[in-house]
């Protein structure tokens, strides 16, 4: 049990650090550490993200685990982890490429033609082209396989009609991968097909979704008679569900950075704010809850380290990594609510200029409900742990063997 690098790892770390020392956008460091992407010090987050990605790609530090011929570096998983440790605050600048690099790219690597890979992947790696993912629908959230967007074959093309939702970055993207129903006459998991498409195709209308917290991170995407060439099909017709599992599995590989739990800002706050016993962190009234969050937050951090360690031994990260979001989501909400309680009447103030701690806990409280839902609700995550880790039986599935178009209410 040790945290030491192997000699090879140490050499890689040194190389990464040297390059970062010379090339990272250091003037942005303070702003990124302080407030992340919402920092007022970061005036143009889009431009900064594009610039940093381009620089990394040119020097071979983009999408490290991808093959070199597609714009990557062919690195080991452990090298990727070391890079992310070294990149530190600048990793926040990758926000624009999370979906593209984490989900679309790996799916293209697995299912696109060689020619397509050479055409699309380098531009995706370098951030020149941005990608999004069109999966969820209004009536297909937790039950993704219940999606209703239809694609029908017409000659060499497929004609797509339907509506996608919760599409992060759709309005900024050149391309997207999309899961659609190509055969409604078979049970729901069997009639799906995956494609990639040009987001500027005729018939696509993108509308931002206004969220409960007043911000807009996601879009609705309406598709009317959108043509996708059959050459842009990823996997065989009807194999879309299996292809999407590749995509989603790759989401899980993004370990190391870890989910924000709210614990660090909480401790910062409790070290600076004062109560009847000096700094709040020494207030016995808070002790038990702070300690509970400490062990959850530290426990998650060390669990991620165990996963990285397993990765370096060649293991595939499994469904047990679902605990990260499960724990972090409710922690964010609890912590934010707890701090508002400490703030009393002024806890309701959201204006960053007047609210305690610049209103960050108010913002956290308003955003947290989404964390407990996006990318798998708490309930779905518990199901995943129960079924895939502990081996318990799946829920009873009344719709499993029924043709999709014979289901009672795919409403």
């Amino acid at each position: 049990m040790n945290f030491d690098d192997t000699p090879e790892e140490a050499a890689f770390r040194k190389q990464a650090r040297q390059w970062l020392d010379a090339n990272a956008p250091w003037p942005l460091e303070a702003a990124l550490r302080e407030g992340g992407l919402s920092s007022p010090g970061l005036t143009d987050a889009f431009a900064a993200a594009k610039a940093w990605q381009k620089k990394k790609a040119e020097a071979g530090w983009a999408c490290l685990n991808w093959p070199r011929e597609y714009g990557g570096r062919g690195s080991t998983p452990m090298e990727r982890v070391i890079w992310s440790q070294e990149e530190g605050p600048f990793a926040a600048l990758s926000w624009l490429f999370t979906i593209g690099h984490g989900m679309c790219g790996p799916t293209m690597i697995a299912y696109a033609s060689e020619q397509q890979k050479r055409r699309y992947l380098p531009a995706l790696a370098s951030g020149e082209e941005i990608w999004c993912q069109l999966f969820s629908e209004p009536a297909a959230g937790s039950d993704l396989a219940g999606l209703r967007t239809r694609a029908q074959r017409h000659g060499d093309d497929w004609i797509v009609n339907g509506q996608k939702v919760w599409t992060s970055g759709a309005h900024l993207s050149q391309f997207g991968i999309i899961l659609v129903r190509t055969d409604p006459s078979v049970p729901k998991h069997q009639g799906l097909t995956m494609f990639f498409l040009d987001m500027r195709s005729p018939g696509i209308v993108i509308k931002p979704i206004r969220q409960a917290n007043g911000r807009s991170e996601f879009n609705e995407v309406f598709l009317s008679d959108v043509r996708i060439p059959d050459a842009q099909r990823l996997g065989a017709p009807g194999q879309g569900w299996q292809v999407s599992l590749t995509t989603l599995m790759n989401e899980r590989l993004s370990i190391g950075s870890g989910m924000a739990t709210g614990f660090e800002p909480l401790i910062d706050y409790c070290c600076s704010a004062r109560g009847p016993h000096g700094a709040l962190i020494d207030d016995p009234a808070l002790r038990s809850r702070l300690a509970d969050w400490a062990i959850r937050s530290l426990g998650l951090k060390y669990t991620a380290m165990r996963a990285i360690s397993a990765l370096s031994r060649g293991a595939t990260p499994g469904p047990e990594n679902s605990i990260g979001k499960l724990v972090a989501g409710s922690m964010q909400q609890e912590i934010a609510s707890f701090v508002l309680d400490l703030q009393g009447e002024s806890g309701i103030v959201t204006d960053p200029a007047q609210a305690p701690a610049d209103g960050r806990f108010q913002a956290m409280l308003l955003r947290a409900p989404a964390t407990r839902v996006e990318g798998g609700t708490d309930e779905i995550l518990r199901n995943i742990i129960a079924e895939r880790v502990l081996g318990l039986p799946a829920d009873i599935r009344v719709d499993k063997d029924v043709p999709f178009n014979a289901l009672d209410s795919p409403a």
Binding site: S136, P138, A139, G141, S142, D143, G146, V165, W166, I209, R210, Q211, A212, N213, G214, A285, Q333, S337, L340, D341, L342, Q343, G344, E345, S346, G347, I348, V349, T350, D351, Q354, P356, Q362, L365, L366, P369, A370, R372, V373, E374, T377, D378, E379, R382, N383, D395, R397, V398, D399, K400, V402, L407, D408, S409, P410, A411
Partner: protein
């Protein structure tokens, strides 16, 4: 024993619900949210026409003289529809402190206008960020925020310290007078606006019967009415979640047939039931002015705060992504739940007060809450 509202009170509930429905129910709050308004003046006038603001104000003072239980019934309905009206500021707070601590002249001067809804009052007691008000014998100086409806109120009762008294006592200030500055501030629930109130030499008069205990006595009373607003909101959030669970289909089934969802909803029901029990007892204690009021009121507020927050947040969870959109009303309840949980200060104050006054505690308390 009759531990429930009476037939007449139930009829009042129906009448209030009908009125609120006529004014758009939750859409009234939605309108204030989208237009950035102060409150729904039309609804407020209609409520005043029915005598609702003056329910617990004596007929002598222009009220309808119904009583506290009726005010609790009204509060629950307002909570249920998130009514955007200055009830907390003008009635639970301002009218109540004048009833408690005003001279008979002060009562005659202000209560009829509050009962009629023609004037809006508020109470400023929140010394956030260490700010504090001081009374120099004639005028007030200092700043408080957030003050409920502070930007629109005609007058405020301000709790302030003075040279001869180190604990805050109530003073009446005309907010249209000189030396008053106020600015609306953003809060977690834009449907109920708040302001920052700065007084720099504003003329003020003490409430004649105000004393060191006035603030605690006032807050106990307000806590009871607020608990009913919270329960109204909590139960509505539970109902929304239940209805959605009966309608939304996933994996070929109504999501309400999954135990994870069923048990989430069952736990919400338990929270609301417990909060309602506590609130009923507090309503009785308020109505009878029972010695038990401090414990009962604190228990009602703590219990209702938890229930409303619990239900509002799980309502979003049951709705999934849909619940996190601006268009759906889930977030309005979530926002209101936070606002009401903190409107009367730190939950820790109420927890301590509850324990300090527990009927079955045997040891004398060292802490004065």
């Amino acid at each position: 024993m009759d531990f429930d509202f009476s037939e007449e009170q139930m009829q009042l509930r129906q009448a209030v619900r009908k009125l609120l429905g006529h004014h758009g129910d939750v859409q009234a709050a939605r309108r204030v949210l989208e237009c950035g308004g102060d409150y729904d003046a039309q609804l407020w006038r209609a409520m005043s026409g029915m005598g609702l603001p003056g329910a617990a104000i004596a007929a002598d003072h222009g009220g309808s003289g119904l009583g506290y239980l009726e005010l609790c019934v009204i509060a629950e309905e307002l909570g249920r529809s998130l009514a955007p009206v200055p009830m907390l500021s003008s009635i639970y707070l301002a009218a109540e402190i004048i009833k408690l601590a005003g001279s008979s002249t002060q009562k005659m001067a202000w209560l009829p206008a509050l009962a009629a809804g023609t004037k809006i009052g508020t109470v400023a007691f929140a010394g956030a960020s260490g700010a504090a008000m001081h009374f120099d014998g004639r005028v007030l100086r200092g700043a408080y925020f957030p003050v409920a409806d502070g930007a629109i109120a005609d007058f405020a009762i301000v709790f302030a310290r003075s040279a001869d008294c180190n604990r805050p006592r109530p003073f009446l200030v005309d907010l249209q007078g000189a030396g008053v500055r106020r600015a609306r501030i953003e809060t977690i629930d834009p449907t109920r606006p708040h302001a920052r109130l700065e007084l720099d030499g504003a003329a003020a008069e003490p409430l004649a019967q105000g004393n060191d205990d006035s603030l605690a006595c006032l807050l106990d009373r307000v806590a009871v009415m607020l608990a009913f607003e919270q329960i109204g909101g909590a139960e509505r959030a539970l109902t929304m979640a239940r209805d959605y669970a009966l309608e939304r289909v996933a994996f070929g089934r109504k999501i309400g047939s999954f135990q994870a969802v069923k048990h989430l909803l069952a736990d919400m029901f338990v929270s609301v039931a417990l909060a309602r029990g506590n609130a009923f007892y507090a309503a009785w204690a308020l109505d009878r002015d029972a010695a038990d009021l401090p414990c009962a009121a604190a228990g009602a507020h703590v219990s209702a705060s938890k229930a409303f927050r619990h239900c509002a947040s799980n309502n979003i969870q049951v709705h999934g992504g849909t619940g996190f959109t601006w268009e759906f009303d889930c977030h309005l309840f979530y926002r209101r739940a936070q606002l009401l949980a903190l409107a009367l200060g730190q939950p820790a104050y109420w927890e301590a007060r509850l324990l300090r006054h527990l009927p079955n505690r045997t040891a004398p308390s060292v802490a004065a809450v």
